[in-house]
Symmetry: C2
Subunit: 405 residues, 2 copies
Amino acid sequence: MNSLRRVLVSPSFNSPVRFTSTTTDGSPKPKTGILMLNMGGPRNSEEVKQFLTNLFADRDIIRLPVQNKLGPWIANRRTPSIIEKYNEIGGGSPIYDWTSKQGALMCAKLDQLCPESAPHKAYVGFRYAKPTTEEALEQIEEDGVEHVVAFSQYPQYSCTTSGSSMKAIYRYFQQNYPLKTPGPTGDGVTWSVIDRWPTHPLLIKTFAQNIMKELDTFPEHIRSQVVLLFSAHSVPQYVMNRGDPYPAEMGATVQLVMQELGWCNPYRLVWQSKVGPLPWLEPGTENTIKAMVKKGQKNLMLIPIAFVNDHIETLHELDIEYAQDLGKEVGAERIGRCAAPNCDPTFIDCLADLVSTHLKSGETVKPQMLMTCPMCTEESCKDAKMWWSKATGYLEKQQKVASSA
Amino acid sequence: MNSLRRVLVSPSFNSPVRFTSTTTDGSPKPKTGILMLNMGGPRNSEEVKQFLTNLFADRDIIRLPVQNKLGPWIANRRTPSIIEKYNEIGGGSPIYDWTSKQGALMCAKLDQLCPESAPHKAYVGFRYAKPTTEEALEQIEEDGVEHVVAFSQYPQYSCTTSGSSMKAIYRYFQQNYPLKTPGPTGDGVTWSVIDRWPTHPLLIKTFAQNIMKELDTFPEHIRSQVVLLFSAHSVPQYVMNRGDPYPAEMGATVQLVMQELGWCNPYRLVWQSKVGPLPWLEPGTENTIKAMVKKGQKNLMLIPIAFVNDHIETLHELDIEYAQDLGKEVGAERIGRCAAPNCDPTFIDCLADLVSTHLKSGETVKPQMLMTCPMCTEESCKDAKMWWSKATGYLEKQQKVASSA
């Protein structure tokens, strides 16, 4: 559990934060836990292999034949080249540091905004890296939290990302407490979910401000011609074809950011990080850069619209592989990169507003999260969603409405 | 030009409207023309063949080998079955009536909102039916309009729809005035463009209100479980892969409508009207209905999110083929259908607000419309966009900025 304690005491964290929510230093016991869910990343070279092994074992994000054999084999084979990439960006992923800082800053705000649910404590729950979702859940139990908010740190929902984290929580409870579901009729600990927030005004404002800042670094006479490339992590076409909401929600974020900017520049939504031979969402970021420069659009800006923290896909793929190496190769004048939200004060306000509005409204879960994709045939998706509809008290409410008819 | 006159004097139109903008009845000469662009539809059986012939000739929407031979052949072969469908919905498409009514109501509001650009006159310019875009442009010339707003009636932009209309305008001028471009440095008639409005608050409100009204027709105890299926016209996957903005903008409209509704029900964006053997956007509306009902979701609502008027795709495909016939076949309890905006007062306010805000801001064109899709290799797209950048005065402005650097 040591890794979890570090959530609130990040060594590189300089801003003053009130650690009202830790339990070991004499501060009050947390009443409300905010479980910040994300895929995570290896903090150092030693963690790369385990991270990749976990990633390639997750059938929600990658499907392989004989996955339990082929997954570890691929992970093993890729480890050296991925370690090399992490070495080029300082040795590890900063996602843990950023998430823990965001959580601490958010909780400090929440304690002021929502005294009725205070003290609040943030728990980092990563899908493929330490601290894992399971470790976070153990710590939440140990702390005796009364209410838990499962808070996806992906603004746009995909079954391959947020959905995978929601399933990890379901599986933890299934394995450890197969006979009881948390929630109002269960063990007394109540659960609620913030599963998506692609249109939150402060998320939009954060990106718009960061784009304006980056635009200002281009010479004035070409500023209005810079093409804004909103680059999101791609996903396989088959995921989309079964009805995954991810591309639609990404489109929403992009449109609203452009609206906030007064549609000042040309732009496109493009997709990065495709792997393997199957068709994924197109057009790809790399091919788009090549095509745009060939057409004479030599000033571009890359905007990482799908993640709220810097990670290898921004610091290495966007900054080194595309902005630097590819830009030089194809003869771009300049490829800028918009900052990720990280600990931008507007973004911290966004996180705090999302959770405080959620807590005050008494919302437990949006019906959208409880419905499987139209073409989904995965039993585990159906089971996970049924579990969540019980854990959040949604099913019970529905049954009451039905029986009163 | 008789067809154009009918734009403002629709026989089935009962609301009182001030026809301030016609020129033949003694009312003042229009100062500002609002060219309402859409694909159109045949008003009666006689127009079906020509409509289909025009549609299958447009390489922006359909690509066929030896298109000038195969297009008319397909159009001819399809005519009888399409006539039959139109007969089932009253003999023809109501899109002309709706668009002309919307235009008249909008202009009445504009004359009040924007006295400085009054009188305003709406012109209907259809891509495949009468009155055609070319006929509308002739009438605009004849009327001696000073400023023209090219106003796409598709809220979400696709090169296959709005883009095709913009290209038709470019082609009309190229063919008739190959040596001059309209605009500030041309013939004195100025042009501006409203090319997309997927996030306009009053568009969102119109859909949200209509959804609420339709939800109210479901029994209370199942109301919150009705699955909202936002059904948009599909497009071929290759169109998306070259970077067409359509699916992203559709996603934006859907998210904002759900936000306005407080995320009250589960929902999905699905795609209708696929033709031919190539892959198109998925999941399809028909297959989604089948899958949802099979999973036990027996109450559904279809929401035509991509068009602002009723037409064959709502009145026949959604209402008859899916809600009625398919619903019965698969054992749905009830498949409702949300009303199209048509002449809903909130929607008329939306149209008037879009144009008045546009006129008052002095906006001419959004840079987005002037950029070709990243993977587009079509010379005609490049040429059309260059023409628009001249016609709207955008190019001249850019050149001034560049030369002052």
